[in-house]
Amino acid sequence: MGELNRRNFLKTLGVVGATVSGIPANKLLAQSKTELSEDRMGVLVDTTVCIGCRRCEWACKSAHDIEAGNLESYSDESVFDKMRRPGNDGYTAVNRYENIQNPNKPINVKVQCMHCDRPACVSACIVGAFSKKENGSVVWDGSKCIGCRYCMVACPFQVPTFEYDKAIQPNINKCDFCFGRTSEGLLPACVEICPVEALTYGRRRHLVEVAEKRMELYPDRYINKIYGFTEVGGTSWMYLASKNFEELDFPKLGDKPAPGVSESIQHGIFAYFVPPIALYALLGGIMWISKNKDSKVEGKE
């Protein structure tokens, strides 16, 4: 009973403390358990289908007002000599890997933001400039960003990039899953242009079924794994491949969401503001007691 009362008291104290400091308690307690929509969208990338035409790169640039050049220049295959990453000049890049079973048919892998279900960037961002939208997109809000680049430290896929050459208003750039286009009912630019349907756009839960079906129907074509199904808590973009994903430069990641540990520590330290307030009270007590002791000693002298 006494214990219960004490607990209640502490809880009240915490809420009072939070109210006094003007911080809505639920805002700070809200772990990023923002309800994920059942109907969130995703893309299934079938690397066994991709032909490496890089039209998606061109479409991505065109859709995001980046200088794209003419489409013909994209058939130049010498770019595959070096591994490329998404960057400020294009939010997606296709890399080519050799195929040992069938040397004539190399493996092409399109890379872009994975649009995590539990995104590290959303959790890390000091001002909450990143958000996970209902349709699955992870979007950056340029009006909030202060350019601290913590998102780049946090991202397990090393996707966001920063405009180091700009002295004023440098941006963080990454694939936004064509949030503007999809809001208007259009397909993401890369999905729309893909000539071989290597990219399938749809509800994430349907895409998982599609992927499982393909693996079941063509067990020789695929290894038995959907990359992105469980990685860091699941991602909106998922991949099928004919060989081990690590050989295709996918990072080996666990199933736990990237922000899990840091968020529980954060919320542990700040649970209802009790720990800081308790520490304050404790130190206040020590100060009071030692002050009194002090004056007693002085009084004796």
């Binding site: 890390a124 961002c125 909450g128 913590y150 780049m152 002295a167 440098p170 954060q266 206040g284």
Partner: protein, 412 residues
């Protein structure tokens, strides 16, 4: 015979050959700071899309915050535990913390891409972000430090307001305002002193939470869920060594007698705190079985070993020896080693341990980055020197110890 100590302005020539050298380092740093603001981060730093944080975060911010720990540890000892003996150290430590945090803030402003949006976290909140918490705590704590410094300001100017020319008409008004400020502060200072300690504990530990989200990108020798605890313990352990180092340095520079008795008894605390830190660090290593990484010979294992052996084990042994604690040189060296160890720890956590995928190159700071970091340290030293000459910070022995001056905080 017991000496009575009282804070006083130091009377000394400001410029000496060393001060001129330090000024040149500061000036060089400022040139690169200007270049960063004019041409952007890319023009001055070696940062890349893979290494977004360099020494400006690892040293200027992370190590800067840790080394300013002398402020809150001394305030806790002197004002919360009321160990009056250490009163003489509180003001110098407060000044260091105030300057230290000011330069942490300047470091952050210089490092972030959109420095003019530094105020955004005040109104755009993300309670999930460790960085948000660090940012808020540092902002509030910096204000608390300025408030804690105000009594020194009022003490310096009450009864001595002497404005030139026409402005002298305001002398009386300003004087009475200062007196009012002094009285009010006296009553409420304890609120700020406790707040300062709480805020410090919070963000010193949250600074450790920062890199946890980098997950597997961080070397397992450093990546651990107890990082916040390790950061807090190392901040505790570097607090007093910083105060000791500064006190001895200032004494040398101004040709004063070091407050050796006080420093010797303060140094008794360092060994046990360092011991707890070492135990936590080693314990964590054994629980996670990361010692296997020490058998590989690479940059990470070498840096980790130096950090632990030179920065923790050796100074721990030194601080436990009473002959070291009795000797000024011994205290100085041992304190420097602890400081080096903590700086190395922050550098290792933020720079060495961070191993991003998709890049073969590694990060090494540019001349510009190093110049700015050194320049900020140099500026801090120059400001410290100026402050102790303008304000009563450093305690000097008073010959006629008739009047007993107490600087305990009233109103508690």
């Amino acid at each position: 015979m017991e000496h009575e100590f009282q804070p006083a302005q130091i009377k000394h020539k400001y410029f000496t050959p060393w001060v001129i050298v330090i000024s040149l380092i500061a000036a060089t740093g400022l040139v690169f700071v200007a270049m960063r603001y004019l041409f952007g981060l890319g023009a001055v730093t070696n940062l890349t899309q893979f290494f977004p944080w360099g020494i400006w975060i690892g040293l200027d911010v992370a190590a800067g915050v840790a080394l300013a720990a002398g402020g809150f540890t001394t305030a806790a000892l002197g004002h919360i535990w009321h160990r009056d003996k250490y009163e003489v150290l509180v003001r110098p430590a407060l000044l260091t913390a105030m300057l230290g945090y000011t330069f942490v803030a300047l470091g952050v402003v210089t490092d972030i891409g959109r420095w003019y949006y530094i105020w955004h976290p005040l109104i755009m909140w993300n309670g999930n972000s460790a960085l948000f918490e660090v940012g808020m705590c540092v902002m509030i704590y910096l204000s608390v430090l300025y408030i804690e410094f105000l009594p020194i300001l009022t003490e310096r100017f009450i009864g001595r307001v002497n404005l030139p020319g026409i402005l002298s008409a305001f002398n009386k008004v300003i004087d009475s305002l200062l007196r009012l400020l002094d009285r009010t502060l006296n009553k409420f200072m304890f609120v700020f002193i406790i707040a300062g300690v709480v805020l410090s504990c919070l963000h010193q530990s949250s600074l450790g939470t920062l890199m946890i989200i980098a997950g597997a990108k961080m070397h397992p020798l450093w990546q651990t869920p107890v990082l916040p605890l390790l950061f807090l313990l190392s901040a505790f352990s570097v607090g007093f060594p910083m105060v000791i180092m500064e006190s001895i340095s200032a004494s040398k520079s101004f040709r004063l007698k070091p407050e050796k008795d006080v420093l010797t008894s303060l140094s008794r605390f360092v060994g046990p705190i360092l011991g707890v830190y070492l135990a936590a660090k080693i314990g964590d290593m054994f629980i996670r079985e990361t010692f296997v990484y020490l058998t590989e010979l690479n940059l990470a294992s070498i840096m980790f070993t130096i950090e632990i052996v030179v920065g923790v084990v050796i100074p721990l042994r030194m601080f436990l020896s009473s002959s070291v604690r009795q000797s000024t040189t011994g205290l100085y060296i041992a304190s420097m080693l602890v400081i080096l160890g903590v700086v190395l720890n922050r550098f290792n956590n933020f720079v060495i341990a961070y191993n991003p995928p998709y890049t073969e190159t590694s990060y090494f700071p540019s001349i510009g980055e190093i110049s700015v970091t050194l320049g900020f340290v140099a500026l801090e030293i120059l400001l410290y020197r100026a402050f102790v000459m303008i304000f009563p910070i450093i305690s000097l022995p008073v010959k006629s110890a008739l009047k007993k001056t107490k600087y305990a905080i009233k109103g508690v």
